[in-house]
Structure formats: structure tokens, C-alpha cells
Symmetry: C2
Subunit: 256 residues, 2 copies
DNA sequence: TAGTGGTCTAGACCACGGC
DNA sequence: CCGTGGTCTAGACCACTAC
């Protein structure tokens, strides 16, 4: 019987319960495929309401640590949790997430007329201009990718003054403009490195590469950034976790 | 003021509310960045409890259709919902999802000693044997990928008798063995088509291709299938939606 | 029948934002 | 200050599973 729950201090009860259950599972108190004590028992034992325990358990189900079966119980999944889901991450965050030190070399930074693709992606009006930020990205002095970001000048007017090549662009957007990126849509294709890409990435010509096209949005759906990147294929791979889908909430008219 | 909610018939109230709100948003009753009526008002207007409305709204937030701000309200996101998240999908489901007809050509189907990689991925004991299913996958008679699936013989002993090359393998696993796949872990790399791959996929040699390595699990974490696939790069691309991460529930000892 | 998870109620209080 | 969403309670009933 471990520590009591703290009521009224910062952390909500359900998050404390969630953390405690996660700790116990990772410590091996419960084994995979074994049932957790029932919600009623956990609630009684911890002195909280059943709804509060449910909230904790639901979160742990969503990340695949538990699964519930009506009428049977809640069970421990044996899924290894080292592999996380992919999220919206800046290059800097992603590098640090696997223990490397990120930095970047600026190739160019200018204000331009957007390409038609960028204009459409950022929903720009005729005549709107964009910042175009062209960089090579490194992890521990190893070149990993070439990135070309476009952002509307109107969204971050003095970006050229405040931009620091060694700070995450996303941090600057949050700090100075209150722009929080919530969702990224990406398309991933494969290609071959052309001469310039091969030189910048220090790989042979024609080497296979990943081609990313990403558009990032604020919570309300306004597009912020349109990025096209080339990642070297010999030093970069994508790790993903996918879960079985729930039924879509979209109407039939949206199914082509 | 539309239809009333149906109490006590199949669908839970919160799902009916969720569907109704989704319909209204897609019909343009509410515009992006506009606030939804407050939870209290929706609850009063629909004659249900606040918790029930919250449950509906929470689901819509999770798919990016709404977002909530404490103290301010709940707002409509302008994110286009045609682009869905990626899930665990069979090749057949994926093909049908974008309107193509899937089928496959069997190259070989045998019982073998697993490779060391497969043995580790499926947590097999020494001496365990696997089914090895080698196929070319087509969408509308266009070859898309070469797939090599391995499944433990002990998990689906008479697979060779019941397998039908034109039915989804996943459906058979569910039908005959009650095996439901819940989670897939995948690693995506790039490569160049070798001679045999180029021939089977009808692309030039050295063409860039996607290399997928996937392991699929049941809910309880038991591995079921280990797959290595080669997808042609000129006819296949990956579309993804990523969301900003919530804080991890893992302890510090798991951060490398 | 007993025990489980799933849904739902009618409140309560808190934290936060804007006025 | 008020209105908002976020958390929490102490129950209730239902649906499902197992015995």
C-alpha cells in the first residue's frame, strides 16, 4: 500500500492514479494478460469515485498499456512502451528524443513570392509574401536532411530579426507570436538524391531519400508552415505505432 | 431544433450527441474558430447531463474537430477531416479505402524455420515453425508491393487449408482463430529495387522503394505477424496526421 | 446470480479568462 | 464579478461474461 493521493494540490486525482497504475505495471506488480483489480475495488481502496478511476484507466487504454472487456475486466497489455506514437515534433525535439544534438546550417533566408503549392497550402491571398528558410539539419555533426520551410510574412512579421539558427523555430513561434502548432499533415514519398542534395547530405548521387511534405496547423485549423524536406535514407528511418481504428464520425457523403 | 435523442435503444447518448455535433459542424452550422454553445447550454437544451455532453466533446477534440480552452469555451477547428489518421489496416482495407480493388498473387506459401529476426519479433521458442506467405499485391491490376508475412504455426495450425488468396488474411485470422489485431509497430526505410523486386513490381532496377517492417500484436501484446514489404516508390505514398503530444506516462528510467 | 465494465445523472467545487 | 471548461462525487441502471 503506497503513498496516499494528494487532494487539492496541483495534479488531478485521475492523473495521480494513472501514474501510479503505470508505475505498478512497469514495475511488474501486474503481469501481461492478468486482470487489474476491478474499478470498484480500486475506487474503494483509493477512496475515490469510480468515475475518477475510469478516467485514469481510459487514458492508459488509449496508449495501449491496458485493455478493457465489458463483463470480464481490465487487463495488462504486454506491448513494449518504449516505442511511442509519432507526434508533431520539431527537428530539434526529434533529434533530442533519440539522444542526439541537433543543429542546422542556414543556406538562405529570404522573403519571396510563394510557389503555387505553398500558396494553396497556406491559404494565402494573391500578393502575400512568405519567409523561405532553407537549411541543412544535422544530428551530432552528421547531415540528416535538407529542409525548406515557408511561413506567411503576415503571421510573423519580424521573424528575420528574432530568428536564431540554433534555436527551434517552433519555440520562437510560440514565444514571440503565441503560435502553437497542434496538427501536422504529412505526405511521405521516396526519391533519389540529385547532385546538390547528394553534396549537402554527403551521400552518393542517386541515393534513395525520403521526401516529406508537411503542413502544420494551429488548433483552429489555420495553416502556419509549409515544409518540403529531403532526408537521407541511410541514416533516417521512421518508427510508427498504429492502432486499430474506431468507427469514423464522418458522413457517407465524404466517402469517395 | 432537430430530432430528439433516442434513449435506451442501441446507441449510447454521448455517441448520438457526438454524431449530431459532427453533422452540424460539417453542415456549416458553426464556422471555424467560432465557439460552440457552452457545455451547460448543450446539456440543458438536449436534456442530458453535462458529463454526457463532455464525453461527446472529448471524442471530437481527440480527432481534431474541436478544441477546448478552460475559461473560454469550445471552438470549431478548421482542419479538413478528409485526411484521416493512419491505423492498423490490411492491404485490402487500405486499397479499398482509396477506391481501388485489391488482389494478390501468391509466390509461395510454406512452413519454415523462422529467421532470427522473425524468431525475436514473434517471441518464438527454439524449434517453433512459421508459415511464410510470399505475395505480390495489386491495386486494380497494378503491382504495388511485395510482401512476406510470417505467422507462428502454433497460432493458426490449419491456416494452409483455410487460406484463400483473395480474402484478407486478417479476416481469416479473426474468423477462424478469434485473433484480433490491435496494434502494429512499423519501421519504414527506403531502398532500391533489386532485380527480382524490379521485375515483380514492373519498375526499373534501382528504383527507389519503401521498405516496411511491421509487427502486429493482439490487445494483450502477444505478437501475431511479422511482415517485411517492398512498396514501389512511384505509386505509393504515405499520408499521415500527427498531433501534438501529451506528456508521457513513462518514468525517467526509460528515457535514454 | 454475481461480478464486471459502460453509460448516465444531478449535483459540487475548482481553475481560468475576460470584464 | 460571471461564465467557461476541468475535476470529482455517490450513487443508479444497463450490457455482458462466467458460473
Amino acid at each position: 500500500m503506497p503513498l496516499p493521493l494528494h487532494r487539492g494540490n496541483g495534479l488531478p486525482l485521475y492523473q495521480q492514479i494513472q501514474q501510479r497504475l503505470a508505475d505498478q505495471i512497469q514495475a511488474g506488480v501486474f503481469k501481461p494478460s492478468e486482470p487489474l483489480p476491478s474499478i470498484q475495488k480500486i475506487a474503494a481502496q483509493m477512496g475515490v469515485s469510480q468515475m475518477t478511476v475510469r478516467q485514469a484507466i481510459k487514458s492508459l487504454c488509449e496508449i495501449g498499456m491496458l485493455y478493457s472487456r465489458q463483463g470480464k475486466g481490465t487487463f495488462i497489455s504486454g506491448i513494449k512502451l518504449e516505442k511511442e506514437f509519432r507526434h508533431v515534433l520539431s527537428f530539434s525535439e526529434e533529434a533530442r528524443a533519440h539522444g542526439a544534438t541537433p543543429h542546422s546550417r542556414l543556406l538562405s533566408f529570404s522573403i519571396q513570392k510563394p510557389s503555387e503549392e505553398t500558396r494553396a497550402a497556406l491559404a494565402l491571398a494573391d500578393g502575400d509574401r512568405v519567409f523561405r528558410l532553407h537549411r541543412v539539419r544535422y544530428e551530432d555533426s552528421l547531415p540528416i536532411s535538407i529542409e525548406c520551410s515557408c511561413l506567411a510574412v503576415s503571421a510573423c512579421p519580424d521573424l528575420m530579426e528574432i530568428f536564431d539558427p540554433d534555436t527551434s523555430l517552433y519555440e520562437r513561434l510560440a514565444d514571440h507570436y503565441g503560435i502553437q502548432l497542434a496538427i501536422t499533415e504529412e505526405v511521405i514519398e521516396v526519391g533519389k538524391a540529385n547532385m546538390e542534395e547528394a553534396r549537402l547530405l554527403q551521400v552518393p548521387r542517386q541515393s534513395p531519400v525520403f521526401l516529406f511534405t508537411r503542413v502544420s496547423f494551429r488548433e483552429d485549423g489555420r495553416p502556419v508552415e509549409h515544409v518540403k524536406s529531403t532526408y537521407r535514407g541511410d541514416r533516417y528511418k521512421i518508427v510508427n505505432r498504429l492502432m486499430r481504428t474506431r468507427r469514423s464520425v464522418l458522413g457517407a457523403s465524404h466517402i469517395l
